[in-house]
């Protein structure tokens, strides 16, 4: 774990940090990686990964129209909308 890795993780996660917080984060992430490195000592040769505790397959609902959502109700909590559209800074000049 080094500053370069931290930069990459911050960029992938769309996060930024103040300089002081970066130092602490580097220390914390290094110790967390130390903790999870314990997993290396476990023999997992030939063990199938477990993604879901009950091992059931994801169900699909019937392909039929269901209740529609009320656009106005759901957009009432949006930070910025106009005419039913979400507003973001200009993307295309």
């Amino acid at each position: 774990m080094d500053q370069q890795t931290i930069d990459k993780l911050l960029s992938l996660s769309r996060l930024s940090l103040l300089p002081d917080d970066r130092e602490k984060l580097l220390r914390d992430l290094s110790s967390i990686v130390g903790l999870v490195d314990f997993m290396r000592s476990i023999d997992t040769e030939g063990v199938e990964p477990l993604a879901h505790p009950l091992e059931v397959t994801q169900r699909l609902r019937p392909d039929e129209p269901d209740t529609s959502f009320d656009q106005e109700h759901y957009q009432a909590i949006a930070p910025q909308i106009r005419d039913g559209l979400y507003l973001v800074p200009r993307v295309v000049e």
Binding site: T5, I6, K8, L9, L10, L12, S13, R14, L15, S16, L17, D21, L25, D28, L29, S31, I32, V33, G34, L35, V36, D37, F38, M39, R40, I42, T44, V47, E48, P49, L50, A51, H52, P53, L54, V56, Q58, R59, L60, R61, H73, Y74, A76, I77, A78, P79, Q80, Y86, V88, P89, R90, V91
Partner: protein, 480 residues
């Protein structure tokens, strides 16, 4: 009115006309007000609960009585409540008024429960001490210098302090069980899939499970009965045959795993041993079992929960709802500044850990490896349940610790979850219930059962609580 009355007592008080739902709501509202210092609540819905109480009183008069009609409960602020702030204790959702009710909220309403407010918690349920909340820490009613545990700390403390009859919580790696233990209340993490996750803000989707925090195993069962069941709105909701909440008592074989007992402090060992003997005197038999991969659970949990959290929390982009930074220059700034301002440091740490575990070059060594060990941990339990009915363990390596004791040291904080994460990884039900005190602070024990085996846990819990009084102790006893 008795603030520590259980649901059964409240039910008969309401039905016999000893008090009305409106009087009961006023009573709890006054207590919440008087105990503001505990910081259990993010939102108190005085107007809403009193209106609902009037409707409940009418229903009781008309003999249209559900199991929880007129009983005030509080929801952890992770459950969406239509028209009420649902903040997940984060600045990110400080302005989020949920447009719909979570299935858990809707079902408890249908059973007659009335919502008195939303309880404080660790931000996005990430924490074991309730110190990561944007709204400040919750204090433990047994000792106000101590944490109530986390992440459902507000719910546990509210039940312990007699501010609500019961509360909902959510448990990803111990977030119902550990605060229940720290505050001397009874908390149940159901089998993964038994309670719908629809409208419960996602942290780690293969682990998250809603459940009750209550005064007794009996009350926890009443709440589970109202909350549970298949929900087409949650694609991981289990279609299981209806299973009973309680079963008839029978002599059980109780597994004692050395991996959970060997490193326990002498004072906790003494309390847990006493609990084991009490269970034996009820006619149950304790036998040794082995769960050999237990010591890998914390590492596995933090990889899997982090990976799932980093994915789930990518939805917070400052566009559709939640916190949005002021005057971003471009779209990248909008994402980055909204997220950086909206999330607290523990949430960021977990997102970054998860992103690391999922990134190119590390995926096999961390995420895939963790999923493989997750299977081994689950298999350990399945093997053990071939021999025993229930497994008895401690809930936490300590009683409630002082605020700020661990917050700067994530590893020590994460190790608080050592006894609760294994059942979470295996998707098993687990009940946390009070079994003694150590230095005047409550100690909890944990019953872990096989998938959909809640009835064994709740029945055993009810039986234990009919013979012992630990669940009936409350913080006021500490000042006597």
């Amino acid at each position: 009115m008795n603030p520590y009355a259980n649901v059964t007592q409240l039910r008969s008080g309401l039905d016999n006309g000893d008090f009305s739902a409106e009087e009961l709501s006023h009573f709890y509202l006054d207590r919440i007000d008087a105990e503001e210092d505990l910081n259990c609540f993010i939102t108190v819905d005085a107007e809403g609960v009193l209106e609902a109480a009037k409707r409940a009183d009418k229903a009781i008069a008309d003999k249209r009585i559900g199991p929880l009609t007129g009983i005030p409960i509080a929801h952890k602020d992770i459950f969406c409540t239509r028209g009420l702030l649902t903040s997940c204790a984060s600045r990110m959702l400080n302005n989020f008024v949920a447009p719909y009710d979570a299935t858990v909220v809707e079902r408890l309403k249908r059973a007659g429960a009335i919502t008195i407010g939303k309880t404080n918690m660790d931000e996005f349920a990430m924490g074991s001490s309730n110190e990561t909340s944007f709204y400040g820490p919750v204090k433990n009613p047994w000792d106000r210098e101590c944490v109530p545990g986390g992440s459902s700390g507000g719910s546990a403390a509210a039940v312990a302090a007699g501010l609500a009859a019961a509360c909902t919580g959510s448990d990803t790696g111990g977030s119902i069980r550990q605060p229940a233990s720290f505050c001397g209340v009874t908390g149940l993490k159901p089998t993964y899939g038994r309670v719908s996750r629809y409208g419960m803000i996602a942290f780690a989707s293969s682990l998250d499970q809603g459940g009750p925090l209550a005064r007794s195993a009996s009350d926890a069962g009443t709440l589970l009965n109202a909350m549970e069941g298949y929900d087409p709105n949650d694609s991981t909701s289990a279609i299981a045959d209806a299973t009973d909440i309680f079963s008839s008592s029978r002599a059980l074989k109780i597994g004692i795993p050395s991996q959970y007992w060997n490193d326990l402090s002498p004072s906790l060992t003494k309390v847990l041993e006493e609990a084991r003997r009490a269970l034996e005197s009820l006619g149950h038999r304790a036998v040794s079992v082995e769960l050999p991969h237990t010591n890998a659970a914390t590492a596995v949990y933090y990889v899997i929960a982090g990976a799932e959290a980093s994915t789930n929390l990518s939805r917070y982009d400052g566009i559709r709802y939640g916190h949005r930074t002021a005057s971003p220059e471009n779209l990248e700034d909008l994402y980055q500044f909204s997220r950086s301002e909206g999330f607290g440091s523990e949430v960021k740490r977990r997102i970054l850990t998860g992103t690391y575990a999922l990134s190119v070059g590390y995926y096999d060594a961390y995420y895939l490896k963790a999923q493989q060990i997750r299977r081994l941990i689950r298999q350990d339990f399945l093997d053990a349940f071939g021999e025993v009915d229930v497994i008895l363990t401690p809930v936490s390596p300590s009683t409630a610790f002082k605020r700020e004791a661990l917050i700067e040291d994530p590893i020590s904080m994460y190790q608080q979850d050592i006894y609760t994460t294994p059942a979470s990884l295996a998707g098993l039900p687990a009940l946390s219930l009070p079994c003694g005190v150590s230095d005047q602070m409550p100690v909890g024990m944990q019953f872990i059962g096989p998938h959909f085996g809640e009835s064994s846990l709740l029945t055993l819990g009810r039986e234990y609580q009919s013979e012992t009084d630990w669940h009936a102790l409350h913080p006021a006893d500490n000042h006597d």
